[in-house]
Every structure is written in C-alpha cells, then in structure tokens.
Amino acid sequence: MAADPGFAGRGGGAGALLDVIDVHGGYGQQEVLRGLSLEVRSAETVCVIGPNGAGKSTLLKTVFGYLRPVRGDVRFEGASLLGRRPPEILRRGIAYVPQGPSVLPHLTVEDNLYLGAYVRSDRQVRRDVERLLEEFPVLAARRRARAGTLSGGERRMLEVARVLLVSPRLVLLDEPTIGLSAAATDVVYAKVREFHRRGVAVLIVEQNARTALRNSDRAYVLEQGRVRFEGSGEEILGHPDVRRAYLGGRA
C-alpha cells in the first residue's frame, strides 16, 4: 500500500468492472473531485471513506449520471458512461441507493418494492417481490403501510433490499448507515455481504468507516477530491495515517 499523500490510486486495469479515470468535477462549477481515479472489479466490495467534503457522494453521483465530470472518464464494463442519464445507467447494470431517503413516502411498502423492478417487464417480478418480503418479515408486516411511516432503519432496509430486483452487477451505496442504530447497520451490512456472495460488486461510500472497512475487500481513502490511500479493508483499518486524513494534521 502506498503512503504517498499524492498517490492517485490505480485505474484502468484490465478486467475492472468500473473504472473511474482521473475525474474532475462537482456541482456546476464547483471543484469537488480533483483528479480521482479508482476501480472496482467484478464481485468485489470496495468502500470509499474520508471526511466530509472529500467528494464521496459527488463521486457516486458522477458515476450514476446525476453529475457530469468536467474532465476524465467513467467506464463500466469497458464502455464510457459519460453523458448517460441515470435510467440508462441503471439498465446497464448499475443500481444506486442515494444518501437521503429514497423511498416514495406516500406509496405503500409493496408499491415501493414493485417500483424497484420498474425497468423489468418479465413475469417473475411478483415472485421476486414476494421472496423479498419473506426475507424481511419486518417489511412484510407493513407491506400495505405508507413507506413514509417506516422508521429510518426500516426505510434503509427497503431501499437496499429492492436493489436486487434488477440483478445489478454493481451496486452504489451512498452512506447507507447514516443515522441508523447499530442493529440496523448490521442488517444493512448483512445485505452487503449477501451481494458479495451473489457475485454483485459493491461500491460503498461511508462516513462510519470501521464497519465498512471490515466488510470490504478493498478501500480507498479520499481527501479533498483525490485518493489519498488505497489498500485492503484490513490494511486501511489499521493504518494510523488514515486517522489524520479525517482530522487533519500531517505525519
């Protein structure tokens, strides 16, 4: 693992599922990402940690097409995603769970689940939704309730669970455990481990870093729009410099 603060991380390796190549950009004219490169390989779980303002959420929004980079490229399975809108990107096999609440509050839990399969037109949707409900009895018990009445943890469960309905090859999770209790966090990460088992790659952005690191194959530490460190989850977990990335100061 490189400890050089200027290290930009690897990118462009052959066989990478997702390749973020020297991306610069942000909202409108803002400069948030300043030459960020990273990659996610097939069936990997990668987490991106770092302090606020480092560009974590901006990264995901850029990958998923909400924002357009000023410079650089984002490639998925070899093809560039630039200029594509979120629904197209979803259809290519990437699912995204935004940071804020993304359940539709005035629709039922069941409706929310069915909408998770919006881009599908096959007949198995019903069967898959029922299976999901079996897996989450908490949601099944509230299936007719308005999703806005769910607790924060339940909502998150719903959002993360319904992702599998579209069989993505890569899932983007934007701070999935923010504001959640320890128990709810565990449920979310149990789902992440399940993605892993099923061979779905996951890119998680987290502020609560430790749990994410424990559950990831590899990790990147972002600071001020660039990759500062990269390594396996365990390596990053134990590294003293990472702490400084969060709270400033130099070695």
Partner: protein, 589 residues
Amino acid sequence: MSLPVVALWIAAACVPLVVHNAYLMNGLILACIYGTAAQAWNLLGGYGGQLSFGHAVFFGAGAYTSTLLLVSARVSPWAGMWAGAAVAAAVALIVGYPTFRLRRHYFALATLALAELVRIVVLNWPAVGGAVGLYLPVRLLGRTDAMMWRTKPPYYELALALLAVACALAWLVDRTRLGLYLRAVDQDEGAAQALGVPARRYKLLAIGLSAALTALAGSVFAQYVLYIDPSTVLDSSRSVLFAVMALLGGRGTVIGPVLGAGFLTLVSQYAGGALGGLGRGYDYVVYGLAIMIVAVYEPRGLAGLAARFRRARGVPAVEPQADGGSGGPAARHDAGPPVLDVRDLAKHFGGVQALRGVTLDVKRGEIVGVLGPNGAGKSTLFDCVTGFVTPSGGRVTLRGGDGSLDGRPAEITGRGPAWIAQQGLARTFQLMRVFPALTAMDNLLVGQEHRGESLLASLTPSPPAARLRGAELLHLVGLAEHVGTPASALSYGQQKLLSLAMALMRRPRLVLLDEPVAGVNLTVIERIKAHIRAQNAAGVTFLIIEHNMDVVMELADRLYFLAEGRVVTEGPPDAIQRNEEVLRLYYGR
C-alpha cells in the same frame, strides 16, 4: 438625467403642436395613461418580482374615488385623485402584508382574486353606480379646476406629465437603493435578509407606490373618458394589459413600460385598422407568442434587446484605501463576556429533533470551528442563530448589539434574520448565495449598513462611504476588475470570495461562515484562509462550519464537535484531534 432624454420629453410635450389627428391624439393620451399604470406595475412586478394580475383594482380605486368625490361632494379631481391614491395604497398594504411571505404564485393569485372580488362588489352596488357606471358631469367641460377640457391637447399634457412622474419614480427606484434592494429581494430574499435588508418593508413600499401611481392614472382616465363602469376600469383585461405592457417592454427597466405601452396602444390601434376586418386579435396572438419567447429567452423584453446592442456603461474606478479591516482594536483571545452566547438551543422539525440542547459560546476575537458528521445539526444551528429558523427552545444572546463593543447583550432568539443581521452579525450559506443578475459591486452594496435606514433614505443612491467600502473589499478579494460584472458571470471560486466580501461589508463583529472553502480550488482556499486570518487580526470574530480539516485546524482557536444535535466535546484543535470519541463518531463503529 441625460440631455437626450430631457430633449425627448420636451419634444413629446410639443407633440400637440404638430399632431392634429384626433384618432392619433386619442391613442397617445391612452398610451400615456396606460403607460403610467404599466410603469407603476413595473415598480412592483419588475423591480420587486411580485407579479400582480389584479392591478385594475388600483386603477379602479383611483377612478371611482375621484369621480365619486367629484360627483357627490364637488371635490376637485386635483384633490380627489390623491384621495384615490390613498385608498389604493391602503388596499395594497392590506393585501401585501399577508401575501408577501408566500410564494410568488400565491401573490399573483391573490391579486387576481381581489380584483375580481372588488369588481363584482362594485358591479352590484348601486350607490357607486353599479353596472350602470358613473357619468362625469359634462357641464364642467372646459374647467381646468375640474380637470376637464373640450379639446385633447390639455389631456395629453396632463397624461404626459403623469407618465413623466411615473418614469421619474421608476428612474429613482432604478438608481437608488430601493431598486437595488428590491432586485436583490427578487433574486434571493433569504440572502438579502441575511445582509440586513428588511425585505417585507421594501416590498410594501413598492406596492404602496405602485398602487398610488396606478390610481392616479385611473383618475386621469376617468376625467378623460368621462364615463366609468366596472368593465372599463376594474376588469381583469385592464390588469392583464398593464402587466403585458411592462413585461413585453421589459420589466425591471425604466423605459420598458413606456416602450410596451406605446407599442401596444399605437401599433395595435393602427394594425387593427390596417388589417381591416381581420383585426380580430391577430396582433394579440403575436403578443402572446412574444411574451412566451421573452419569458424564456429575454426577460428584459424590448428594452433587453436594445441593451444587447448598447455598450456597457463605463464603471468609474474607485481607489481603495488601506485594508478592509473593521478598524476596531486588534483584540485576539480577549477575555471577557462572549460575543455570542448560545444556551440549550433546541429545534425539532416535525418528528425530527435536529438540535437537542446545544450550548456554545464565541469570545471576542476568536475563531471558533464547528465540526461534525452529516446530519449533526450544524447548519440548523446557524439558521437558528441567524434567525432563518425559529428555535423550539433555548436562548441566543449577542453582545455588543447596540453598537458598542461592551454594550449590553441583546437576546436575538427567534428574531427575524434582517434584524439580527443589523445587530452586527453576518453569515454566508452552505449553498453559496449571491445575487446572480446584480454586478459584483451591487452585490456588495446590498450588504451596506441598514440600521436606521429610513424609507426615504432608500430613495437615495448608496452613499459614497458604502461604495468606497465596496471597492475596498472587491480589491481585497481580488475582484477589483469585476466591479461591473454580473455575479452569474463569475467563476464559482470568485463568487465564493464575493460572498465573503458581502458578509464583511457592514464591518460585522461576528461572522458565521458555513463551509467557506467547499467546492473551490486550492488557490482560492489559501486566499480565503488568508482573508479570514487578516480579518480576525483586525478584530472580527468568526464561527465557522467547515469539513476541510487542514483549514479548520490551522485557523481555529477552539473547536466544537457536534453530533446528533448536541455538542459532544469542545477544545483546542490538537485536543480534538486526539479525542477518541470524536474519532469514533467520525470514523465509525
């Protein structure tokens, strides 16, 4: 006012000497009357951004009041028209007060409803003429003291004079602080309030003036056509006409409503005739199309198109003086009562508890940082302190509120943002806010001293001291050559520097900065850091929310760490860096 403009008015006044065609004279008189009303509409809708679709109610108020006074009490219209203006202004204030805090659409709808309501009432009220209307006493024709003449030229001169007054008023608004503040409020009311501009007061002034002027036009109209009824002076088509004239001609400009009125009245008068029997509204179809095009592409209408061909006005160079500091004694780490004292501040939004009893203080001369993860309540804290959000509990006290450094503390809990800003507190926003259509200098001028600024004073241009201060600050942040550039044309980093300068205009004693270096490149980050240090050295106290750890650790004397709505810990930067709990909260379980 420039010479060509004066010459134009004089030429306009001489028109009756050369024009004898009654049809044309009629058109000119109506153009002037409607133009006055359109200009009046422009004061509120053009500068203030509050589109009214019920201005006929003011037009009618003027017409009916002066006519009733004439008919039943023999009051001369020269006096009666002022009574009409007063009535209209009163109605305007009553309507404006509750609706100005709502979104723009609601104001438009409320004016529409009001006008219709009044029209129906008058239509069915025999005492004021009802559906039959009111006839002005023709026996008075030829008597100037009754504002009635047998020929058109005197009416023309009167209408022209009224239009001149309207344009003078618009010109005054345009060139003075009132216009500046109205435009700022139109573009971003919250940002204007954060700079101390009492938004509602100026909007009320605008609607009062607008209503009064429209009423004057209505009175003159009545005196000219000699007959009024609800369908001619209170109808929604009148309201629409005034709005369309101002919109097409160019809202927010002085010449716009005049262009619009002239165009619509005269061109349609003749286009209708020229198209023969086809004059069934084809021209209005074009106007409708024009309005849509203007709305989407050139909101300044005809005047805007003209402006594109005109060179930008040269901006006078202002020599900046010395530093842009507050001029107070350099007082760092001054022991003494805190400048800002927050106790047990609580805020809940519906079921969400954003702040759970936050207590902190900021001493004079300090730079205090506020850290914390997302959702900790940092911005809510700022909003509560600066009056954008009313706290659910707790107290916020500002010291030095009456202007002196050791003055008595002022409790600012729950007060409005403009008032709080006037007590010497300034802020910036996380989502950076500047006034996009105003020049850099104007952006700063919105932030000039507002305490004690009377309504009358707002009708004067910004004082030289304010301009000088603005120039100083522009020079300080490196935007001196952008004095006349609209803020929307500046880069993000430049806008960020501008918003910092805006906060410093009034030499505040306490500045709250919400993520001052977010989203900018490293060069700008260094410059902003340097400015904060320099200002602090000159005596300005800072409370800063920031995630950029390098910046925070370098600048701050003390830090508060917020999480889940409360203060978790507090201390100097190196202590916070070593604090395990902080790390856990940031770094996670």
